[in-house]
Symmetry: C2
């Protein structure tokens, strides 16, 4: 009767996609109330969050970073634009739909960040801030590893080569 934790994981817990899903479900449950209270969906929130760190981003980049398929992103653009949280930015490549946060969108983002900050600190304290950093590093590196496995020619998450209209 091998008791799981701290010893050997059960086989079920060794499944990477399932472990990632379950852990995401748990952490999402922790932070989702702050998203809900502002009438945002999680995909909408991911878009706002991605835009909060960039001047402006095009749909393709957002789709990749936020794990949202283009058709869904089109709808999300519509909803966030109608609420005045994002706005389109002209681009030298007229095919690209580039958007950025409006001041209202930035303010909303900051509200959510500040409201969720105590929960984040509590989690970091309970789990260990340095372990959290280790986990995040491993997650991002594993993603790079998988992407490189599937497309060895591409540098992961650095789509900066021959991007038209970029200064």
């Amino acid at each position: 009767m091998p008791t799981p934790r701290n010893k050997a994981l059960r086989k079920f817990e060794k499944s990477l996609p399932i472990a990632l899903l379950r852990t995401r479900e748990a952490t999402t449950r922790l932070f989702k109330p702050f998203i809900d209270s502002h009438d945002l969906t999680m995909p909408q929130w991911r878009v706002l969050r991605a835009l909060a760190e960039a001047e402006a981003l095009d749909a393709k980049t957002l789709a990749e970073r936020c794990v949202i398929l283009p058709p869904s992103l089109t709808r999300i653009f519509r909803g966030l634009t109608q609420r005045g949280l994002i706005e389109q930015v002209q681009c030298t490549d007229a095919r690209r739909h580039m958007v950025r946060l409006t001041p209202e969108g930035m303010a909303l983002f900051e509200d959510v960040v500040q409201e969720s900050e105590p929960s984040y600190r509590q989690l970091a304290a309970a789990f260990g801030a340095e372990r959290l950093d280790t986990l995040l590093d491993l997650l991002n590196e594993l993603r790079d590893t998988v992407q490189t496995m599937q497309d060895p020619a591409e540098e992961p998450d650095v789509p900066l080569r021959k991007v038209a209209g970029l200064r």
Copy 2:
């Protein structure tokens, strides 16, 4: 007032739910072809995988372990039962819907495991088997931490006492 004081800790790449989602997307992309080729959805696969390690499980336990809401699980039971992959097991508590794999279900599970084994080995080799173990440990421990934070009275993943107010 937008005060970006939390700099590195709150960057997009450091968002836990988003990092978990993106890494899951990558690993799922790696393994999903083996699921697809057997006409299974990912939730269906999670159910089969959970059942492969247990004599039989009830709906509530499966819902928790596989991160599937009860209404979805009802449909999944129907589909897997119609395909002869699972079957109901009588339980002393007649309210409980307990199921187990049929021999066909177990055979299908083994097929998928064997077919996906090379990809798993390739990933473990590229990323490092011991780092993969570390990542899985951290994921499961983080999930425990969050669950304990949200319901300190509960032992995580042992839902055998009355769980009230679970949302």
